[in-house]
């Protein structure tokens, strides 16, 4: 069972260079999940105790109630609020299509990261990388570049 999960996680570029041991460790906190189109599986303000690695389909990240700020597709990580107090979601996540994902249990991961800081750094690096990319995209989007002249 965990065997299959390891292979599925390994297939995603974000985790493809993780060592066998770390991958096994990570998979111990993981399970497969599915969402139907239209399903809101993360709600703003609720306890953030999980993260999702999208395997298939499209997830809309809804920031101010209605507008989709960004979508997440195969290979994207959704949610890193489980890493930081007060462990609350900052957005809604809505399945725009049928979605398959790997759910990572936040409490389980936190415990493993804290007891094994080297493993913790490997995991934190990957979440940080996603956060960094999201920030870059947000910066470009905030410039609203298509509005004005091309120069």
């Amino acid at each position: 069972m965990t065997e299959g999960l390891e292979a599925l996680i390994r297939r995603q570029p974000l985790f493809d260079d993780l060592s066998e041991a770390d991958l096994k460790h990570l998979a111990g906190c993981a399970r497969n999940v599915k969402f139907d189109a239209g399903e809101i599986f993360v709600r703003h303000g609720e306890e953030a105790d999980r993260s999702f690695l999208v395997r298939a389909g499209r997830v809309g990240l809804v920031v101010h109630g209605r507008d989709i700020a960004e979508t997440a597709e195969e290979g994207d990580l959704v949610g890193w609020s489980w890493l930081f107090p007060p462990y609350r979601w900052h957005f809604d996540a809505k399945a725009l299509t049928a979605v398959r994902a790997i759910e990572l249990d936040g409490a389980c991961l936190r415990a493993k990261c804290e007891s094994d800081p080297r493993f913790g750094f490997e995991i934190a690096k990957r979440f940080l990388y996603q956060a960094h990319r999201r920030l870059e995209h947000t910066r470009l989007r905030a410039m609203d570049v298509y509005k004005g002249p091309l120069t």
């Binding site: 499209r58 809309g60 209605r66 507008d67 989709i68 700020a69 960004e70 979508t71 597709e73 290979g75 725009l96 299509t97 990319r133 870059e136 995209h137 470009l140 989007r141 410039m143 609203d144 570049v145 298509y146 509005k147 004005g148 002249p149 091309l150 120069t151």
Partner: protein
């Protein structure tokens, strides 16, 4: 080319409304075939209003017509939105440098367009598709502000349906009825599958967008001398005489608008991304 100072009158044959502020005009050149290379532009003169540089957005293999896609932003371009078949425009051109259709042969070609920037790239896409076997993968990434601001929607659907082309369309702002990706073009570029060390990247769109695109392409491993971008500067003569379009040591109307990135990268070096 005729006398480069004198506009040739050409009759509008067809008008297609692309978005609320953008039209595509097809001018009849059947009496005097019009040749150009993908990436070049014309000076388009609206009698009584003025003259503006506009890229050619049609097929280079169709000398019997000349196609321009124009976004109405000011005193010259806005009245162009109201043109109807039978109206006449004055045309000087073609001017400027072209997309690297030859240099790109044998490589993966990644076309990254933003907003109205798809118009200057469309002749390049037509060329790639008309000569499909000369290129390896072809990836088109197109970003717009919102779904209703995308150009050439029917054509995008058609291209997306082809088996020999990857098309990724993304918007900065999603709407209720949009189920496609929401995010900036660089996100789509980072996800695209191609051989970075054997790819050609061509990009056109807002300058900030292009800088981010180049940054991402380089990060993915595309050498700077395999990246081309089209720059915009105000123009008057378009033949390298008046200096209106000066950019560093260049006149964009002559040395541009299409530049290989390694030739201009230093001009952006001081600007932080």
């Amino acid at each position: 080319m005729n006398d480069p100072w004198v506009p040739t009158p050409m009759t509008v044959r067809e008008v297609v409304r692309e978005t609320a502020d953008t039209v595509t005009l097809t001018l009849d050149t059947s009496a005097s075939p019009f040749a150009f290379a993908p990436g070049q532009f014309n000076m388009v003169y609206l009698f009584g209003q003025g003259e503006v540089p506009i890229s050619i957005s049609g097929h280079a293999d169709r000398p019997d017509e000349l196609v321009h896609t124009i976004r109405g932003v000011g005193p010259v371009t806005r009245p162009m939105l109201d043109l109807v078949p039978g109206d006449v425009l004055g045309i000087r051109g073609p001017f400027g440098t072209a997309w690297p259709v030859e240099e790109a042969r044998g490589t993966d070609v990644i076309v990254v367009a933003g907003g109205i920037g798809l118009a200057p790239l469309r002749p390049m896409i037509y060329h790639l598709l008309a000569n499909r076997r000369d290129y390896a993968r072809i990836v088109l990434i197109y970003g717009a502000r919102q779904p209703d601001q995308m150009l050439f929607v029917d054509e995008l659907h058609h291209w997306r349906g082809r088996f020999d082309l990857t098309v990724e369309v993304t918007v900065d702002q999603g709407t209720e009825d949009w189920f496609g990706p929401v995010g900036v073009v660089t996100r789509s570029l980072a996800r695209a599958r191609f051989d970075a060390d054997d790819a050609t990247v061509v990009t056109c769109g807002p300058e900030v967008m292009m800088r981010f695109v180049v940054h991402e392409a380089v990060r993915m491993g595309v050498p700077q001398d395999r990246i081309w971008a089209s720059m915009e500067r105000n123009m008057k003569c378009a033949i390298g005489l008046c200096g209106h379009c000066q950019w560093g040591p260049d006149f964009v109307c002559k040395q541009g608008p299409v530049y290989r990135w390694d030739h201009i990268a230093h001009r952006f070096a001081e600007k932080e991304l």
